[in-house]
Symmetry: C2
Subunit: 338 residues, 2 copies
């Protein structure tokens, strides 16, 4: 109810509003006695600084918006935690917004964030091409693309997905698989397309004749992975691939579950390798091999770039940071038992 303002504090402390503001922002230039008096008044009144008014004057808030493709995918949660960890040390708040893969929803979040004059936006865009993001940046809200191709017009952090696909493919080939399936999603998603391209090249480079099948689902979810798993389990053993490379761990977990319910063994009947290396991958009943992305680091770096741009808008040159993915071998792609 009773929201106190700086003026009431000033009155009670018998100083001017300017002094109260100074106590709040540059306490060292205020004499200790006055400072004390002001603090007391603040406490007595339960005064809380109105950030809205503050930022009207100052220009921008210390809030960063992080718009992710899917909060229910732990990968993005980890990216967020990385960003939050850095933000914490710069008295900056990260707010998490979920576009859920819906361009309309993404747009509304972006509008809201821009209207609130956030300090900047980190985003995993739903669509590859998005002129709106460039307009946004041009109007003065710095944007950093996360886990997404660099357009050159803004900063971005990403992981080499083509390389990731290649590593996964090479690993399966090396384990003796010659009939591999790529379990993917909408090829309009850049990440999916790149991972596919990577595994394709690895399979093509194999000495023996190796074969790559492909199957795409409309979304990269556990349920979709399970559905594809059902399909594979239904195939006669001779036709069934011996290994599957999934576009992300969620799908891989779905596959794994389908195998279990049909009594097929992993990796003996089907080796599986996922992508992202979310914590649930290691915790799965058959621990999942996966292509690890530096999830927290991705978030950390993204916000570092943003803070840098905010700190020195003039000197700032947009950069595209690319990380290398890693292979994590676990049981789901272990050597097949004799």
């Amino acid at each position: 109810m009773a929201t106190r303002n700086i003026k009431e504090v000033a009155q009670l402390a018998r100083v001017s509003v300017g002094t109260v503001s100074n106590v709040l922002n540059r306490p060292e230039i205020v004499s200790p006695a006055t400072r004390e008096r002001v603090f007391e008044a603040i406490k007595k009144l339960g005064f809380v600084r109105n950030e809205v008014a503050r930022h009207l004057r100052v220009g921008r808030s210390r809030t960063v918006g992080l718009v992710v493709l899917d909060v229910s995918n732990p990968f993005f949660v980890d990216v967020a935690q990385g960003a939050e960890a850095v933000a914490d040390g710069h008295d900056t708040m990260v707010v998490l917004c979920n576009s859920a893969g819906d361009p309309g929803r993404e747009r509304r979040h972006l509008d809201q964030l821009e209207q609130q004059r956030v300090m900047g936006i980190l985003i995993t865009p739903v669509e590859m091409e998005s002129p709106y993001l460039e307009e946004l940046a041009a109007r003065g809200t710095p944007v950093v693309l996360v886990d997404s191709p660099a357009t050159g017009l803004q900063c971005s952090v990403a992981v080499d997905d083509r390389l990731g696909g290649q590593i996964a493919g090479a690993h399966l080939i090396e384990r003796g698989h010659r009939r591999i399936i790529f379990v993917g999603g909408p090829p309009s998603i850049k990440q999916v397309a790149d991972r596919h391209a990577g595994v394709t090249s690895a399979v093509a480079a194999a000495d023996g004749a190796a074969e790559l099948l492909t199957r795409s689902a409309p979304a990269l979810t556990v349920a979709e992975g399970r559905a594809i798993g059902e399909h594979l389990a239904g195939l006669p053993a001779e036709e069934r691939p011996t290994a599957a490379f999934c576009a992300n761990d969620m799908m891989a977990l779905g596959l794994l579950q389908a195998m279990a319910t049909h009594g097929l063994r992993v990796p003996d009947d089907l080796a599986i390798i996922g992508y992202d290396d979310i914590d649930f991958a290691a915790a799965a009943a058959v621990p999942l091999s996966s292509i690890r992305q530096p999830r927290e680091l991705l978030g950390r770096t993204a916000i570092d770039l943003l803070l840098e741009e905010v700190a020195e808008p003039e000197e700032h040159r947009h950069r595209q940071v690319i990380f290398q993915p890693d292979l994590v071998v676990r049981e789901s792609s272990a050597l097949r038992r004799a």
Copy 2:
């Protein structure tokens, strides 16, 4: 760079700032011709309304803060999605803040949100008693407690955890288990304590002599669950409980994984029942029985209460909504094979 304001728009459209404001907020009272002219100017300049300034005048923003205990637990993500779904229809934005179980961090988030004069706060508090939340509410930021005991001084939504514990216990008893272990966490967490109390009463009510063991971990994570699982797997079969009731699904998944790596079968060697019924529970290699909480509904209801309070601050009476949990039986607690 160039951030346009309402004045520039007014100039270009050759009207007063008041008219531009009207076009933005009550377009129907402006004549169509003028309205059109203003819209054109807005478009030409790429004008975006400054919400900060707007809310300085209007008082509060249309943003709701949702402070959760652990973003990496899908349970909270689902609660958030429920809240978001409702908010979406009330042109309100939900921002997700992660306290990660740390009171200091929770406090900083609350401060930030209050300073930003958010419309209200939904929170799963880290600690049971928190006078700070009451002060916050007294200073004018409505607070709704989520999945937490009602203090009577504010609104809350929760699920009857005692009942949940009871149902889980009764289910295991009914399945013939007489040696049950409760795998819990810090008893300072109200939810944990209640679930424990529930299962205790169910075991006590069993006709045959049933025994309840208890084991607490410092956190309700997969890793902690796995650690306890290792311990159980190491026990001689006669001493080992035949069923485990976990304080949440994360721990249950950990347990499950430990069983698998030690070659113990679920449910034959150890039946497991979790809590929350997160999606990963159904997707686990051995689909997990669980006590289902209406996750999205929890979020929906919480924000409903908040919106109600904001709409009619005077008539509003604080309410404590309590939902009933459900039992979902899956393979992990199926009848033991003969």
